[in-house]
Symmetry: C2
Subunit: 334 residues, 2 copies
Amino acid sequence: MLVSAGYLREIAEKALVAQEVAPSNARLQADLLIEAELRGLPSHGVQRLPRLIARLRAGLAHPVAGGKARRTGSGAFTIDGERGLGPVVMMRAIERLAAVAPEQGIALASIRNANHIGMLAYYVEAAVERGLIGIVMTTSEALVHPYGGTQAMLGTNPIAIGIPTGAEPFVLDIATSRVSMGKIHHHALTGTPIPDDWAVDADGHRTTDPEAAQTGAIAPFGDAKGYGLGLGVELLVASLAGSAFAPEVGGTLDAINVANKGDIVILIDPAAGERGSSGLAAYLDRLRASRAADPSRPVAVPGDGMRARRSRALADGIDLPDPLHEEIRALSEG
Amino acid sequence: MLVSAGYLREIAEKALVAQEVAPSNARLQADLLIEAELRGLPSHGVQRLPRLIARLRAGLAHPVAGGKARRTGSGAFTIDGERGLGPVVMMRAIERLAAVAPEQGIALASIRNANHIGMLAYYVEAAVERGLIGIVMTTSEALVHPYGGTQAMLGTNPIAIGIPTGAEPFVLDIATSRVSMGKIHHHALTGTPIPDDWAVDADGHRTTDPEAAQTGAIAPFGDAKGYGLGLGVELLVASLAGSAFAPEVGGTLDAINVANKGDIVILIDPAAGERGSSGLAAYLDRLRASRAADPSRPVAVPGDGMRARRSRALADGIDLPDPLHEEIRALSEG
């Protein structure tokens, strides 16, 4: 059914408060999930809520914790997330970094022991709203095989970059896997085959069967280069956050394990550079106006599609599967 | 002909000194070019030298300048390269950052008005040798089309990441284009067609003709994601370094224009994190030992191939085209 963002936010928030989540934390966590829905990213939307509730009930997610920071340099912090909600720990880290970024120019926080942070775009947009450049990376369970390999050894290891442009911000949010496991699940649910370059099965053979892919491994995006980038994220995050490597990571997709992946966030003050946002919007407009391969599909800039989907969903509502709506409504009643 | 790295370094250095380049600068610039040759990257090797000499003669490259730094934050500098040699300005920036990184945790330098910095791996390896994580990005002339576009609007915008592991370092060095223009030139020289997903011709049509591709545009690597990443590099560098956007960039491939691209380098002290290099080498060894798609080609880690090629070339010599050898030998005699 179609529901409004406001209504969905309200029942999601209530479901969290019913688990003793601090009201401000519930508001933030619900906002993150609804923003993912609005952008057409249901895999990071309210379908995550029932599992998060289960994690709160199991003591794997803490309803109040915001993370304990240790300053390891004038411009660097490491944060023990104390099993807090991902967006709660992350947004506190961003506040902390935003306070020092103007003086430092660049600042870094590395987070371990926090729950799933969801859609990364949310955080780099928060940086941009503060007039700052944001770079966020996070790790996950082993889902991706190395280039030339066939076993799931890396996380989907997304990276997001947000840059103020003076107009609509540049917002890039990409997993370093060819597709998300969410998309493969969707193919499995609808019984649609997947392209043969998305994934391998448990035996390491390329497969078009989404069920077989679920027990195998997803390909990295962009072959050797994308693999290299995803591995770079894996190592940077593990080294700095002190989190686990993908084969040992648990707790972002289950309600059994403590979340032992890591996250890093870097904020840069554009004022520490020579140009700031001057001329960025004009250059992006030149890109958008440049000759398209298909005249009916103009060249886009990362962030354009998300913004368009968000506007539409705000006007038309969010299309939620009935059983999921029922489940969240029931959870909101405690 | 096969030449030794030592001999090639010597004549390259002499050719630079003959143009009044300070001996220490000549040593560094020659070392960068020879290291690219050793790694099997001739497009960034001594074939760049004659053009660089022409730039020195034309006053577009300064033989002594090392760059003038302005501190814009406790952990941030912008650097006017004063038309200095790329590696000279870059290595001074790295020394400057390396001096503050242990106290800051993270530090950033943004460079404009310096010449071509060549193979990025060189700089992140220099960071790793100092026990630091290095991230380097640079921009270039417009050579790459946007995803869904057909005009050259972006640079090849490479990104490099170096991470100490306690054993062989992780060294990623990737252009965000599908291939280098150097590779397309090589196909043109040898009259070999290129795969049809590498580039478009001047009219925006996919082409297998390397000559046509030279006047067209190269595809981004990894489709929309790689395009987004390359555009992120374009914007980050331009915003921070205050350098030009790709369509206005000149001076890395010619001997006519001042080099107005930009470079950024970020150093991070692993000691500002929780894990440092602990466990990184063991995880990478697990990757290398994981099941390969083709048993005769084991899974590799970025940096492995470069190191193997370098060892072989140190033992066997560097295969240099005779005319290029002749040209450099002549230049070395002033």
